[in-house]
Amino acid sequence: MRSYLASRLLGMIPTLAIISVIVFTVIQLPEGDIVSSMLDRLQAQGVDVTEEYVANLRSQYNLDKPMVMQYFVWAGNFLTGDMGYSILFNRPVNELVWERLGYTLSITISALFFTWLVALPIGIYSAVRQYTIGDYLMTTLALVGLATPPFLLALIFMHIGFTWFGISTGGLFSPEFEDAPWSIAKFADMLAHIWLPMVIVGASGAAFTMRILRANLLDELNKPYVVTARAKGVGPAKLVVKYPVRIAINPFISNIGLMLPALISGEALVGMVMGLPTIGPLLLQSLLNQDMFLAGSLLMWLALLVVVGILISDLLLAWVDPRIRFE
């Protein structure tokens, strides 16, 4: 087990290295760079910019060096904990990332828990009571949830909140806490706001998970080992949870890591619609302006989250399923 963990951790290094190369290349692919997009804006405002100033800027951010050099300088600095400077926001990237990564993580992880909390009982109910009115109701609801994109759901919720209840549902904080230092009151205020993006981001995942769980469970419910357990006198509720459910949830545990990217990109759209201080809106802006240091760092962080998520789900699977552990 220990050597498995070590090999998996070592395997993450080349994975992340390759991702960093791809991230860097993709961001550099379009014509121009952050300086030229800045110039465009300044010239549009009628500001005169000297050739010298431009050259200075370029050399300040190493943009005049060859691509390979630029990559190594960026990657080297990233490894030492310096993610560079965002020309777009005029602030160090480190500050920007730390400000927002926590919110993104809180929303995606709570959305993941929400997904499970909703999907597990409903999926079990639907499978055990297959073809009853309750089952039809739940599967239909799940189908609707699956077919509604998160950003649309966000718009609907915000509209209902505003027109019916007169409350603004955007953001993560009430205006009075927006710039306040952290306190218990601010944390409580965040909890009062975070549930809505959590529900919106998690809804389609919950619908998807519920449908798959129902199908998996229906396959397991009449397996011989369930009949054996029933024949030895295990009570009905314990029987379902201990035997078929235990097997039917395994694929989901191995999918936690794969669900993260979907949740994160769902969160990006919802974040923009609801005006959340998360990674998503920041990433879009930085990509549009070719702010290499900010965009590259954000993408690297998301990649790291996904790789770690997959590792965690593999470890969890090995923990719950002895068949995997013993291979």
Binding site: P224, A231, K232, G233
Partner: protein
């Protein structure tokens, strides 16, 4: 019907189970399938009763009825199963409500079952010890530790050595024969009155088959329980059974002692079944089939069982019964 039971009738009248008029329907897309029609027989206490018949004859459905394990689309539509345990008042199984505590007690406590497929009969994610001990914990108030100790004892008894190590192992680390021993241990750990074996040796190879049969027979002698043994293998019947019930198309065709049924079968279908055993057929001739023996004799009409002079019961038209009795 002959009232005077002859003295050489080997069957006892102390029955642990009395099944009467049992009928089960399965709802399918093409209509109702009558899986069992008027099935009735007794399971004498402390004996081995074998149910034989081809695939689809209703053997397993009968067993599932006794445990109330018939799942939708199947449904018990008629009949009674009277159960007479030694240590509590008798009760009827078919009419038990789903929530009746006696039903939970019945499954695994009074009656337990060994299944055909040892490879899939155990959950792959729990240890062998856990799954055997669970049977004890379902029926008696003992500590987990005590349950594990008793589980180990029973596993030892069904021939699994190196208990300390093996009790912590998972089913997929065991061979098919070993797994079937585990299932048998799980079935016997609460000392049930009746052990139902639903083709327990079908999925095993011949040497392991013999070992498992000997094990079941030896344990039955030790624990003095009654066994209902379901099989399509007449060789196994000869080896293990006291009484034989022959089933065909969801009906009982013939009931008798193992000697009566195997040596002097009365019903044409039973004769056909026996003639189709490869080892008993004369060499150099084509193997008899059931159809060639039965010929155009009607075996599909459900005639009620008639008791013959020697105590056996047979489902034949009344005028044939007279002939058969001679």
């Amino acid at each position: 019907m002959s009232d005077a039971a002859p003295a050489d009738n080997a069957l006892s009248h102390d029955n642990v189970l009395e099944i009467r008029d049992l009928a089960v329907d399965f709802k399918t897309d093409t209509g109702l399938t009558h899986a069992l029609v008027n099935v009735g027989f007794d399971v004498p206490r402390g004996k081995v009763t074998a149910i034989v018949g081809e695939s689809g004859s209703g053997k397993s459905v009968t067993a599932n009825c006794i445990m109330r394990l018939v799942q939708p689309p199947g449904r018990i539509i008629d009949g009674t199963i009277n159960f007479t345990p030694t240590d509590m008042p008798p009760f009827e199984i078919v009419s038990l409500r789903k929530k009746d505590p006696r039903l939970q007690e019945l499954r695994g406590g009074h009656i337990s079952m060994v299944f055909q497929e040892p490879m899939t009969a155990l959950s792959p994610v729990y240890t062998v010890g856990n799954q055997v001990a669970e049977a004890i914990l379902c029926h008696r108030k003992v500590t987990r530790k005590e349950a594990m100790r008793e589980a180990a004892e029973m596993l030892e008894r069904v021939g699994i050595g190196e208990m300390e190590r093996r009790i912590q192992m998972y089913p997929f680390e065991f061979s098919g024969g070993m797994r079937q021993r585990v299932v048998i241990a799980m079935a016997l750990v609460c000392h049930p009155e009746i052990l139902i074996c639903d083709e327990p040796t079908t999925a095993l190879d011949v040497t392991i088959q013999a070992e498992i049969l000997t094990l079941i027979k030896d344990l039955q002698r030790d624990l003095k329980n009654s066994v209902l043994f379901i099989t399509h293998d007449l060789g196994v019947v000869a080896q293990i059974a006291d009484q034989v019930v022959v089933m065909y198309q969801g009906r009982v065709l013939e009931i008798g002692t193992v000697r009566q049924v195997l040596k002097e079968p009365v019903h044409p279908y039973t004769r056909g079944l026996l003639a189709a055993i490869p080892g008993l057929a004369p060499k150099g001739e084509p193997l008899a089939t059931i159809a060639s023996v039965v010929g155009d004799t009607d075996i599909t009409t459900p005639y009620p069982l008639t008791t013959l002079g020697d105590g056996r019961q047979v489902s034949l038209p009344p005028d044939n019964v007279a002939l058969a009795a001679e």
